[in-house]
Amino acid sequence: MDKMPAWADAVLVPLFSLLLAALLSALVILAIGESPVEAFKLMVDGALMRSSGWGYTLYYATNFIFTGLAVSVAFHAKLFNIGGEGQATVGGLGVALICLYIPWPHWSLALVGAALGAAAFGALWALIPAYLQARRGSHIVITTIMFNFIAAALLNYVLVNLLKPAGQMDPASPVFPAATHLPTFQDMFATEAMPLFRGAPGNVTFFVAIAACLAVWVLIWRTRLGYEIRALGHSESAARYAGISPVKIVVVAMLISGGLAGLMAVNTAMGEAERLVMNATEGAGFIGIAVALMGRNHPIGVFLAAILFGFLYQGGAELALWTNIPRELIVVIQALVILFTGALDNMVRMPLERLFLAFGRKERA
């Protein structure tokens, strides 16, 4: 049975998948007449070599941690939640309502309130697909996709018809009150002598994301609920034998998943834009799929993968600024990562297994 040690499966497979994706992306860059080496340098320069670059990288990473965790929790119950995008969109609505209509005395309280609102709204948006899956057997992949489209229409309606201040052209909510301003990295770490993170949107929500990683780890590996979620994910028949209700676990896991996706809106709406705009999620819900797959559904893996994608995102923006490479390059890389880690994983795994088998024989000999 010892084909490959567990650590190799957890580390080498995603790593090789990433290398393959990088290689193919380099080919794409070559094909459109740019230099991959130059492009990579630009990305590293823009995303990692300055503190403001890090401020952006971590800002994006915060989004991806939330959506990555969201996808992971659902995956543990063997549910494929493609609805992170919609759940984050509706979560944004929760943030906006709570920031706009409750007079918060201090940002810390506002953060707690907004986080609860975002999670509740996101969870709510996951509830119907979850219920339909659990009770009616409607395929959750299809329903969550549909709910992404419905969420976009809903937000559009609310922004245009209800929240948009009179006379304003773009469909967006009013600016949130100053008391709800979340400290950015610049607010927290910059001094007169060391002007760090200048102008970057990275903010205190990043630490909420780290806390979420911890919470998810405890939930999945230390609580009864996590034990039951994983049990259901591995075998529904066994779960029923043990008296675990599949209906309940499907609904609860999706509520948690939707809540985590919704939390992302705290970062985008409250931490960055300080108002609610259309399409604030910018596809982060989908990147969560890539992050969860690469991170092997483990919070530590999700954290690392999210930082990587934060780097790609920020680096990609720099590329689009300085070269003829559009931001869609990131979508391609994201697609390749999902493909190699989630669907073509056997293509990566099989040669690795053979390698380990060969080495194992040699050692024994």
Binding site: T223, R230, A238, Y241, A242, G243, S245
Partner: protein, 534 residues
Amino acid sequence: MTDTAPAIELKGISKAFGPVQANKDISIRVMPGTIHGIIGENGAGKSTLMSILYGFYKADAGEIFVAGKKTEIPDSQAAIAAGIGMVFQHFKLVQNFTVLENVILGAEDGRLLRPSLAKARGVLKQLAEEYGLSVDPDAPVETLSVGHQQRVEILKALYRQADILILDEPTGVLTPAEADHLFRILDNLRAEGKTIILITHKLREIMEITDTVSVMRRGQMTATVKTAETDPQQLAELMVGRKVLLQVDKAPAQPGATVLEVENLRHVDADGVERLRGISFDLRAGEILGVAGVAGNGQSELLEVLGGYREATGNVRLNGTPLPLSGPGSDGRARRVAGIGHVPEDRQREGLIMAYTAWENSVFGYHRDPGNQSGALMNNAAIKSEAAGKMERFDVRPPNPNLKAANFSGGNQQKIVLAREIERNPDVLLIGQPTRGVDIGAIEFIHQEIIRLRDAGKAILLVSVELDEIFALSDRIAVMFDGRIMGERDPSQTDQRELGLLMAGVTEDPGENAIAAIDARLEEKENRKQPRHG
């Protein structure tokens, strides 16, 4: 040696899956027009060998000769071309296709279906007359009984003009009467010059129908003998490599108070078929009630209803307290809290999470018990150390609680389940197929544990399709057929024949007319199931 070439000959076949040597240097010769049995325990390598013969696996070494000619069989297509047909243990039929469609699949004439179907209809009619293989060609397969589905499999092979027919455990799902009918068909086929290889683990079948028999043990062929020159005891020894104790040592039961009362239990499954049709019985402390029956007559559902896996109607009282049979409080967890342990029939799909470690599995179903908690979290450290103790007491090998369930052998997986359910000291223990896929050493251990639990005053409900096991363990035997209990017998006052009739739904001994009586009951049963498919 005879002049004619063997219909099929294997020379030095070996096959390994990773570190597991499934077949090792196997050679056999099967003469045309004979029935050759291959017998061995589960996991002895019989099915692997036949899969090689049918082109499912490529052998690592060895040669295959068909009718004296060396033949390569890289895939099923080649096997069919060489005249080999296979009837698998799990049928390879398209459930929502008709019999005719299933028969022509892969053997169509031309690109259009209509001519193929017409031709097959004619051939089927002819085969039905020739071998007694009648079955309605237009019936969707999912509406057919198991026995008839098996006939479709045989017809598929014959339609492809197979001369060599391999049957893998063909009687596992048949009633004794259906098995008899199958053997008559095999007899006809042999008379027509077909060669048949019969794979089974049942000694009785080997003795009844085969001309020669090969015995396999742990991937090796231990002997090939003429059936007429051997006896079951010798074959059993060859199978397991030592003398077999078919008898379990036990003192007479000393039943105490009634623990479980079951009254008029009814269950309708998701397809709308009534699987339990009014089951009633009492179970007393310190006794084992064995439930015998052919697979699929409601025994599984009975266990699962009592274990909280399925909902039902009726009355069940545990120590006088009624148990809810549907809605809240009717799930597996509630049953465990009430004092009912459950060793399910299928440990891999139900009893264990294969991807969980042994220690995680050691509390599966009991994971919400207060003893396994530490505040809001699960007390993993305590669970782990307790699991190590249980594994030692039940002789689980290797005794490593951090190993995943999937990495244990069948017998050791079963011990993990048994340890979990027995150590909770339940009032009632439900046990399904306790030794299915379990090696012989573990069987004895498991049987002893069950007896020990009985002697400790627990009430045990045992479901098994192995009549020998039912006889060996039970203090009372109930026989199920078509969702009902046909009768209860004292094991010392009954025999295989009587139980066999009960298993086919015949309560009065019909004497000479047994077969007709059985056929009538089976037809009744099938008719009851059909309307839903319209």
